[in-house]
């Protein structure tokens, strides 16, 4: 299965989500240095570029994708396109990593996607300290679902 974590930039919350998925980040409280050390974190410019992030223990390939403001249209198009080739939802999973985040974190990533990478990333990191657990919890639910599909 291909799992694509997508967000505004594909280099902030999507990278953190991929890090959580791969076990690089744990459920414990995280500090900024851990996030900054993640490969591809806050790296410009990743918009609309699919980046391979690694493979999990189940053999699922992980990717990150920056979709700008098109958080609804892009995944819808991907699913619709793949359905033309009879590729089902069990072969790909698209996870919106912006969904569990609060407004300040979103704003940070949005600023980064709008070209204010340094300022946006600082704001994002500041707000992420608070939202990290929510993202972790959200992904835990999603990953369990992905694993279920894998073992069928």
């Amino acid at each position: 299965m291909k799992i694509i974590y997508y967000s505004y930039t594909g280099a902030h919350s999507a990278v953190i989500a991929a890090g959580i998925h791969l076990g690089t980040l744990t459920s414990q409280k995280i500090d900024r240095s851990q996030l900054v050390k993640l490969p591809l974190f806050a790296s410009p410019p990743l918009l609309y570029q699919l980046n391979y992030y690694g493979q999990d223990s189940f053999g699922n390939d992980l990717f990150t994708l920056g979709v700008g403001h098109e958080l609804i249209l892009v995944p819808k198009s991907i699913i619709s396109f793949l359905s033309l080739y009879k590729i089902r939802g069990t072969e790909i999973k698209l996870i919106n990593t912006m969904l569990p985040l609060k407004n300040l974190t979103r704003m940070g990533e949005k600023m980064a996607s709008a070209g204010m990478n340094t300022l946006g990333t600082r704001l994002f990191l500041h707000a992420m300290a608070r939202d990290y657990k929510m993202l972790y919890q959200y992904l835990k639910e999603k990953q369990i679902a992905a694993d279920d599909v894998h073992t069928v």
Partner: protein, 145 residues
């Protein structure tokens, strides 16, 4: 949608269609926000190629970039599909009419404007479609050889 209709022969390719012809075309000024991003089958052309329409907002060339990357992930044949961006052929009148009709919901004002704009842009749009069809046909012949 107009380009797809020309491709499929639902609209003439050598003259401007009248209002009735445009309005009778499937999906003309019908798409709503939730339809955007969905590949919708318009029909099959004379060479049995499937023709789809899809709304892509302001993604421009990035739409194709994303789709091609996804196709690459699943090792789909990149030559099996062609994505044609029709936005360069959309004039200001069409944008204003489309926005008024679809986004603002003022169909009785927006629809005549978008129809007028489409008629104005029609011949360039149709010639683009003819070019695409010609290219596809010649590529297909080379492929057969």
């Amino acid at each position: 949608m107009t380009a797809a209709a020309v491709h499929l022969g639902m609209l003439p390719s050598t003259r401007r269609p009248n209002c009735r012809e445009l309005l009778n075309t499937p999906y003309f000024d019908q798409q709503i926000a939730k339809d955007h991003g969905l590949f919708r089958l318009m029909g099959c052309d004379e060479s049995n190629r499937e023709v789809y329409i899809v709304g892509k907002h302001n993604l421009g060339k990035n739409f194709e970039k994303i789709i091609r990357q996804i196709a690459g992930l699943f090792a789909l044949d990149q030559k099996e599909f062609v994505i044609i961006d029709t936005m360069p052929y959309v004039n200001f009148t069409m944008m204003v009419g489309g926005y008024t009709s679809r986004r603002l919901g003022i169909t009785f004002i927006g629809r005549p404007i978008v129809t007028f704009g489409t008629q104005k842009a029609f011949l360039t749009l149709a010639s683009m479609v003819n070019r695409v069809k010609h290219t596809l046909t010649s590529c297909g012949q080379e492929h057969d050889c």
